[in-house]
């Protein structure tokens, strides 16, 4: 496979100070670095990057250290999705002791920056173990240059009273800043937690976030995982979420993508134990010149596992979206039940959607279905609302909101649901009067 080798050069001379004395990390890095030097970033020729080009990303000379991470306390408060939660805050890729609040965590729960938990056996066991599979160039780059990340570990049978929110802020103080964060989330048997990831750019600065989150769910554990992406309109925001699920575990992911010039999320789960279940919900709202790409993959590796997926997109102006959902049912994974749905609403003449729901099935006693639609607002519904006195814009916004609400309604944290509703409403064209 030919990749754009020249992309590799500006990165391959870099290094990072994190964990230089930690044996497992340095050897992993060496491996990643060898790989990256050989393959570079994925090129458009590769099937998984058919509709998303990283060419412009490769042309920028990225800054790898933040020069100035000063931020107002009020700004940090403002960007948090939740007040009533534990917080780990990262500013320009650096962990912030000042703004993080994890002191009052209950017993059996650990939430620390990666730099302070490299000696933990959970970290050395699970770090970099799953993420290799997809988008290998970017993964290798992340492991090569990883500087920080969040580590969350729950002991067996621990349920936590409040969600944990991870806040990743780009201040815009350093132009063309690249960050490579790597999070590790390990849930013990029978444990449960809600995690909210907030990604936000405070300005319109260009930056490159290349982030990986690896999740390990032991038997009977339950993770609700929210990702709220509000990267700057000039940012390259690339995230990779990868999970491994033991029997009876549940992983629910809800991703809302609003920001980024080029935003790409790869979400991958492996259902490795019987009765494991995963939910993948997503919302993407590209407008302006945004390009938002969602790739998902579910591996049903053993019998009796289930998955449900719903991704919805609203495309406006010159927005472009890509959806690629893959369901793989492995040999002997009988009684698999997999559902997948992708729906797209096109609001402007210049937007573009490329969607590809995929199934690869190697077992016979299965129920698998996927559907994909592309359409526009219903003229009859618009007329109905106009006849009742709504303006054209109000009517359009109301119907658009109704379209996306199916995804937002799945959010079970009331505070987050409210804040997402506001965010989505704000992303729509402004209505003069109040709606």
């Amino acid at each position: 496979m030919s990749r754009m080798m020249e992309f590799a050069t500006p990165f391959s001379t870099l290094s990072t100070s994190l964990g230089q004395d930690v044996g497992w990390l340095t050897s992993l890095r060496k491996e990643a670095s060898t790989y990256f030097k050989q393959h570079g970033l994925p090129a458009k020729k590769e099937e998984d990057w058919k509709y998303t080009s990283l060419q412009r990303l490769g042309q920028v000379v990225w800054e790898h250290t933040s020069k100035d991470s000063t931020i107002l306390a009020a700004d940090v408060e403002a960007v948090k999705q939740l007040d009533d939660a534990y917080h780990l805050v990262f500013i320009d890729g650096v962990y912030s002791d000042v703004y993080s609040e994890v002191a009052s965590l209950p017993a059996g729960v650990i939430a620390l920056p990666l730099s302070e938990s490299l000696d933990r056996v959970e970290v050395s066991t699970h770090f970099g173990q799953q993420a290799i599979i997809d988008s290998p160039g970017l993964t290798a780059l992340n492991i090569m240059l990883v500087s920080e990340g969040a580590v969350i570990i729950l002991d067996d049978n621990v349920a936590i009273d409040k969600p944990i929110e991870l806040v990743f802020i780009n201040t815009g103080n350093t132009s063309d800043l690249a960050t490579h964060l790597h999070n590790v989330v390990v849930l013990g048997e029978g444990s449960a937690v809600d995690i909210v990831e907030t990604h936000i750019g405070l300005t319109d600065a260009a930056y490159f976030a290349n982030q990986i989150t690896e999740v390990v769910l032991a038997a009977d554990s339950y993770l609700k995982h929210y990702v709220v992406q509000q990267a700057s309109k000039a940012a390259f925001h690339i995230t990779h979420l990868s999970g491994k699920q033991a029997k009876n575990s549940i992983w629910q992911t809800h991703s809302v993508a609003l920001g980024g010039k080029l935003a790409r999320q790869d979400l991958h789960t492996q259902l490795l134990g019987e009765a494991a279940h995963c939910v993948m919900d997503g919302l993407y709202l590209p407008r302006g010149e945004q390009h938002i790409d969602n790739h998902t993959r579910v591996d049903h590796a053993v019998p009796n596992t289930t998955s449900e997926e719903l991704y919805k997109g609203v495309l406006d102006e010159k927005g472009r979206a890509v959806f690629n959902g893959k369901v793989v049912v492995h040999q002997d994974a009988q009684k698999t039940d997999a559902k997948q749905q992708n729906a797209n609403l096109l609001l402007s003449r210049r937007c573009e959607i490329d969607t590809k729901p995929q199934m690869e099935i190697y077992a016979d006693d299965v129920k698998c279905a996927h559907g994909s639609t592309v359409g526009q607002l219903d003229e009859a519904q618009l007329f109905f609302l106009r006849a009742r006195g709504l303006t054209e814009l109000e009517a359009r916004n109301l119907l658009t909101y109704a379209f996306v609400s199916e995804v937002i309604d799945q959010v079970t944290i009331p505070e987050l649901r409210q804040s997402l509703t506001t965010l989505v409403e704000k992303s729509m064209p402004a209505v003069a009067a109040t709606t």
Partner: protein
């Protein structure tokens, strides 16, 4: 005791998968070029056929382009490397005269072959209302119903003949839908194509019968490279049938055909295929490699092209009959049943390229995999920026029989116009135990029950086939799946 053994033997025999019933080799002397491919081969083929200069030039351009290409590897199939120098690119049955003028003059050996295959060539053909342009290996040897067609100005003849009779039409349309630059196999075909069918329906003419061609691969080591070109002028209608069988043998045989359809204003073309080439034995030895490029151009406004295919044969199938919807209000349809058993691999589907306004397309694809086979649907629905109010509906269902087979779905949807409505649905399941139980309880044996359920699953597609084809296709489905459940 003896009775018990007898009845057991009988039972076993019933469950042993049936042999490929069309597997026999007709012993006729063939006139072949030695294996190998070079510019010289291309020139030789062209010379044998006494082709005009423009065609040779075109072949050579295609050959030179082919040299620059690499074998495509994106399909979900595992294909052994093909040595293109080991294939003989031309083979023609020897003929006593320059060309048979009636059935009596046709080699009786050939006629017997067709009879075994069930080609309605003589009396049966007339009853069935089918005009057959039968391609035996590479040269057409029999044409029927020419008079009936000629009365209406319909041209239906072997490609090699059309080159001389209607060079202006060939020059105008050849490669206009599938360029020789299109893909690896299309380029190869353009360079070395042997023969095929040419159809032209004049303005306002409705072709009074189903036109049909039977292709058959015979001489050992001969790749077949047919080229079919169908042109339907304004307000015309034609229904074309293509059916295939091939004799059983061990070497893999390559088949790379190109089919081009052109529909002008308000013209309609219905193209139906039943493909039953030798799929290889149960261990995947032998069998045909079927790498086909089929494409239709809805050039005129309100034109319509409908592809219907029943694919049960071939070791590897790589085939995507497509429609380019260029004219406003044009319609494209694709109905497909693909059955794979044993070690067969199929990667098939369609492309619907919407360019004109108010264009619509329908895709119904039914995949059935059994044994250790791989069956993939790969399709593209593309709505161009100027295709106002385009509409597509796609449905892809897969049926799995056995826990070692596989079914895949790769639909690509690319929309660049917000007035488009595109829907895609796919499902995968196995034959439900309840359905089987219900049928068995009413006295059907397992094989009959499976055959009935499978035919029900495929009904949406089968009813698109012309009557006489539908019967044949239904029997074929049952035959292909014999022994896969039980």
């Amino acid at each position: 005791m003896g009775d018990q053994v007898d009845s057991m033997t009988q039972q076993i025999e019933e469950f042993v998968p049936s042999e490929y019933s069309a597997g026999f080799v007709t012993d006729i002397e063939s006139e072949s070029l030695p294996p190998g491919l070079s510019e010289e081969t291309v020139r030789q083929i062209s010379a044998i056929k006494g082709e005009p200069e423009f065609l040779l030039e075109w072949r050579l351009k295609a050959y030179r382009h082919w040299l620059t290409l690499e074998t495509p590897e994106w399909a979900h199939v595992d294909c052994p490397e093909i040595d293109y120098q080991e294939i003989s690119y031309y083979s023609a049955p020897k003929q006593k005269t320059d060309g048979p003028k009636s059935l009596d003059e046709v080699d009786p050996e050939l006629l017997r072959t067709y009879e075994k295959l069930g080609v309605p060539l003589d009396e049966r053909a007339r009853l069935a209302g089918v005009a057959v342009d039968a391609v035996f290996d590479s040269v057409s040897v029999a044409n029927t119903f020419q008079d009936t067609l000629a009365e209406r100005g319909i041209i239906f003849m072997p490609f090699s003949k059309a080159v001389h009779a209607h060079p202006e039409l060939i020059k105008q349309y050849l490669g206009s839908v599938v360029s020789y630059r299109d893909n690896f196999y299309a380029a190869l075909n353009s360079a070395v194509f042997s023969d095929g069918s040419f159809v032209y329906i004049p303005k306002g003419v409705r072709c009074p019968m189903e036109l049909s061609t039977y292709f058959r691969i015979n001489a050992s080591n001969t790749g077949q490279f047919e080229r079919t070109l169908i042109i339907a002028d304004d307000d015309s209608y034609v229904s074309y049938l293509e059916g295939c069988t091939a004799p059983m043998r061990d070497e893999n045989q390559l088949h790379a055909a190109v089919v081009e359809l052109v529909a002008h204003d308000r013209a309609q073309i219905k193209y139906s295929t039943v493909q039953n080439w030798y799929p290889g034995d149960e261990n995947g030895v032998g069998g045909i490699f079927n790498f086909v490029t089929k494409r239709a151009m809805c050039k005129g406004e309100s034109s319509k092209v409908s592809w219907t295919q029943v694919e049960t044969g071939s070791a590897i199938t790589w085939k995507y009959p497509s429609v380019v919807l260029q004219g406003d209000n044009s319609i494209g349809e694709f109905y497909s049943v693909a059955v794979t058993n044993n070690r067969q691999q199929a990667d098939t589907g369609t492309k619907m390229i919407h360019l004109g306004k108010n264009t619509s397309s329908t895709i119904i694809s039914k995949g059935i995999s059994a044994g250790r086979s791989q069956n993939a649907y790969r399709g593209l629905v593309k709505i161009g920026p100027k295709a106002e109010n385009a509409r597509n509906y796609s449905e892809c269902d897969s049926l799995l029989m056995g826990d070692r087979c596989a079914a895949h779905t790769f639909p690509y949807i690319e929309v660049k116009n917000p007035t488009a409505q595109v829907e895609h649905e796919a499902s995968t399941s196995k034959i439900s135990e309840d359905q089987l139980f219900y049928c068995r309880q009413r006295g059907l044996d397992v094989e009959d029950a499976v055959s009935m359920i499978v035919n029900g699953f495929c009904k949406q597609v089968m009813r698109e086939l012309p009557m006489e084809f539908a019967v044949e296709a239904q029997n074929l489905l049952g035959l292909s799946l014999e022994g896969s459940v039980g």
